[in-house]
């Protein structure tokens, strides 16, 4: 084939646009390859389209640099001595855009350009997929399209929302907080921590207010929404650009509505459909063992805080020594669960960690109470996990004190890769549950993506890479010295309290984090679902 049909031209343009915007599905990518392999015309169109986008990236970059306060900070670290002067000359002579490519910047690429993992296939039953078939436990990237031919698939988003698809169905995973149902049926279960999760479709946008609801999307564009529990906010969508937005409304328990281009209407056979959606779908879940090390700090007295370990590849015998008995006694306080450790600026305490040298994605969870009044020592890191790659490097947790890098008082996690700063201020003198997922994903091609949860809710956070040449790998071997209540090696400690520290050898799922926070018990998502 050489000349393309009109339909193929439209299709090619659609796929290239999706590709440039980072939302092309596997099926679309495969189709693109097919078109490019078969037709010279397709290749010419593709090359010209991509060149146009390259030009537009350049123009947009130029516009950005024309602004009074450019965000680009040129990082010279890690470059050979001749490249820096060369690039500096280039920057002076020809503008920062050039320097960006020579040196990189401290500005992160927008999140949609990285293959960010935002959800996981948490359960399935009799699934037949169209295109690439995910298996239970697989991570799902932002922008991925799931095409289920038959069976049931449960997707758990990082926000904690769970969608169960009934095939045939097509779902586009847009982010941890949004999915688009192209066709088929889904049932959404959204815990309070994931309030605000959205399911969209050409006919309607549903914003969850903490609930269970079902949605069906027809090929023709119409959609029906059924609220099983709680309430949702619905907004009919009008595709015509510039048309006035139709008003939002709230649908409550046992209410249903049909949305189509012609407008909203009653649902036919409402009761029958409600009955069908109310039925529980039993999906099969893979068992993922939980290997962990835990310090409960429930001793409440004495100079040792002991650890309990469970399973393989975990840190063993890692008692924390609190120093001499007279100073140790002042360390104990009432915690969120039983006793806890209190730090009032004394030197930090430490424990040797060993035995968890394997690489992988790990989780850390801990309760923290930070002072409402800011103090210099309160902004020190209060927890430092040894990554030992290279030796003497840590993942350090602190309260953010740099307004330029995010919300003041929010959770800050600093590693060699850079800093991640959350959006919720912890500076209120109350106990907060924090959880972080970090480390190198199993598939090496995937970039590490830190996730932070505060009080069970996924934090939207800003990331500041140390520099473009910062190592992209985060091995998280957890081997070396763990520091609590202050910076590694620092003589003055933080002011705060800390309870129930837990290190887990795999990423915890949102239901596991929520359950841990609510009950102080660590059990797997499979066990939670079975209860």
């Amino acid at each position: 084939m050489n000349a393309m049909t009109d339909n193929e031209r439209v299709e090619l343009n659609d796929i290239i646009s999706a590709l440039v915007d980072g939302r092309a599905s596997d099926t679309e990518r495969a189709r693109l390859e097919e078109l490019l392999a078969a037709s010279d015309e397709a290749r010419r169109f593709y090359v010209r389209s991509m060149a146009m986008s390259a030009s537009l990236f350049e123009r947009a970059g130029e516009m950005q640099n024309e602004r009074p306060e450019p965000k680009n900070v040129i990082a010279f670290s890690g470059w050979s001595r001749w490249a820096a002067p060369l690039a500096a000359a280039a920057a002076v002579l020809f503008g920062i855009w050039i320097a960006r490519f020579f040196l990189g910047t401290s500005q992160p690429a927008s999140a949609e350009e990285q293959p960010e993992m935002v959800a996981r296939l948490s359960g399935s039953k009799d699934c037949k997929w169209i295109g690439a078939a995910p298996v239970s436990g697989d991570e799902i990237a932002r922008g991925r399209r799931l095409e289920l031919e038959s069976g049931f698939a449960e997707v758990t988003f990082d926000s904690g929302a769970q969608l169960t698809l009934t095939g045939p169905a097509t779902l586009d995973v847009r982010s941890a907080w949004e999915a688009e149902l192209q066709r088929g049926t889904l049932k959404a279960s959204v815990p309070p921590e994931a309030i605000g999760f959205r399911v969209i479709n050409t006919a309607v946008e549903v914003v969850d207010l903490g609930t269970e609801f079902s949605m069906t999307a027809e090929e023709g564009g119409a959609a029906e929404v059924f609220v099983l529990k709680g309430a949702v906010e619905v907004q009919p969508r009008n595709q015509a650009d510039g048309a006035a937005e139709p008003p939002r409304s709230v649908l409550r328990e046992k209410q249903a509505r049909r949305f189509a281009k012609a407008g909203a209407s009653e649902v036919r056979d409402r009761d029958k459909k409600f009955q069908r959606f109310a039925a529980k779908i039993a999906v099969e879940r893979m068992a993922h063992p939980l290997n962990y090390t835990r310090w409960s700090f429930d001793e409440g007295a004495g100079d040792i805080a002991a650890a309990i370990s469970n399973g393989a590849n975990v840190v063993k015998d890692s008692a924390i020594h609190l120093g001499k008995s007279d100073t140790a006694s002042s360390r104990w306080t009432q915690g969120r669960w039983g006793a806890a450790l209190q730090f009032d600026g004394q030197p930090a305490v430490q424990a040797k960690l060993s035995g968890a040298a394997a690489r992988g994605t790990r989780s850390v969870a801990v309760w923290v109470r930070l002072p409402a009044e800011p103090s210099v020592s309160g902004t020190q890191s209060f927890l430092a996990l040894p990554l030992n790659h290279p030796p003497q490097t840590w993942a350090e947790f602190s309260m953010n004190s740099l307004p330029g890098e995010g919300v003041l008082g929010a959770l800050r996690m600093q590693t060699r890769q850079g800093a991640s700063v959350g959006a919720t201020s912890l500076r209120d003198g109350k106990w907060h549950h924090i959880a972080a997922i970090f480390g190198q994903p199993a598939k090496k091609a995937n970039k590490p993506h830190t996730k932070l949860y505060v009080d069970g809710r996924l934090e939207s956070f800003s990331q500041k890479p140390a520099s473009r040449r910062a190592p992209s790998e985060m091995p998280a071997a957890l081997d070396g010295t763990l520091w609590l209540g202050g910076q590694p090696g620092s003589s003055a400690g933080a002011t705060m309290a800390l309870d129930e520290l837990l290190l887990v050898d795999r990423p915890l799922s949102p239901p596991e984090i929520r359950h841990l926070m609510q009950t102080n018990q660590l059990i797997s998502a499979e066990a939670i679902a079975a209860n």
Binding site: D14, R48, A54, A60, S80, A83, A90, I98, E113
Partner: protein, 175 residues
């Protein structure tokens, strides 16, 4: 890197500046993911600097640089194994050949694009430029569109610009 005279360094900076877009565009066409393409461009720039003593003044710098970029893309294949940012070997070669064949028209298309952008209505232009500066979500937010509407509008605008640029070049050729 071998010692280079100040003149030679100046020449390198000048050539890189002149041809940077073309090299980036070539890499981005082969690896359609901006972030990865930028990384490969960075690596390519380093190799270009290292090997610049091999480059003969007066020959086609962009073609020479794209040849280096080609090998960097090939080397990146192992890095991208199983990821979706790279084509199958045969397609990669075919696309590279087309990109080289179309290279001479690229400057003219880039210039024509500026004129075509001016013809867009301001809301569409803002959507497009914000998308390329800060991503689709920000663009949708800033122009008061839903995400789906933004994706649709971007697809339409890209086709519009593509046609506008092609028409501009055709009419210039026949004028």
């Amino acid at each position: 890197m071998p010692e280079q005279s100040a003149d030679r360094t100046k020449e390198l900076v000048l050539l890189m500046t002149q041809h940077q877009r073309r090299i980036f565009s070539y890499i981005y066409t082969l690896v359609p993911d901006r972030h990865s393409a930028e990384d490969i461009l960075q690596e390519t720039s380093l190799v270009i600097c290292e090997k610049f003593s091999d480059f003969r003044t007066g020959t086609d710098f962009a073609a020479w640089a794209c040849q280096i970029a080609w090998w960097q893309v090939r080397a990146a294949r192992t890095k991208f194994a199983r990821s979706k940012v790279i084509f199958d070997e045969k397609v990669l070669e075919a696309v590279s050949a087309t990109a080289c064949e179309l290279a001479p028209e690229q400057s003219a298309r880039h210039e024509a694009l500026s004129r075509c952008l001016q013809k867009l209505n301001p809301r569409d232009r803002e959507l497009l430029m914000t998308r390329y500066e800060s991503g689709v979500e920000e663009a949708a937010k800033r122009t008061g569109r839903s995400l789906v509407a933004a994706y649709k509008a971007l697809t339409r605008l890209r086709k519009l610009l593509h046609d506008c640029v092609t028409n501009a070049l055709t009419s210039e050729a026949t004028a």
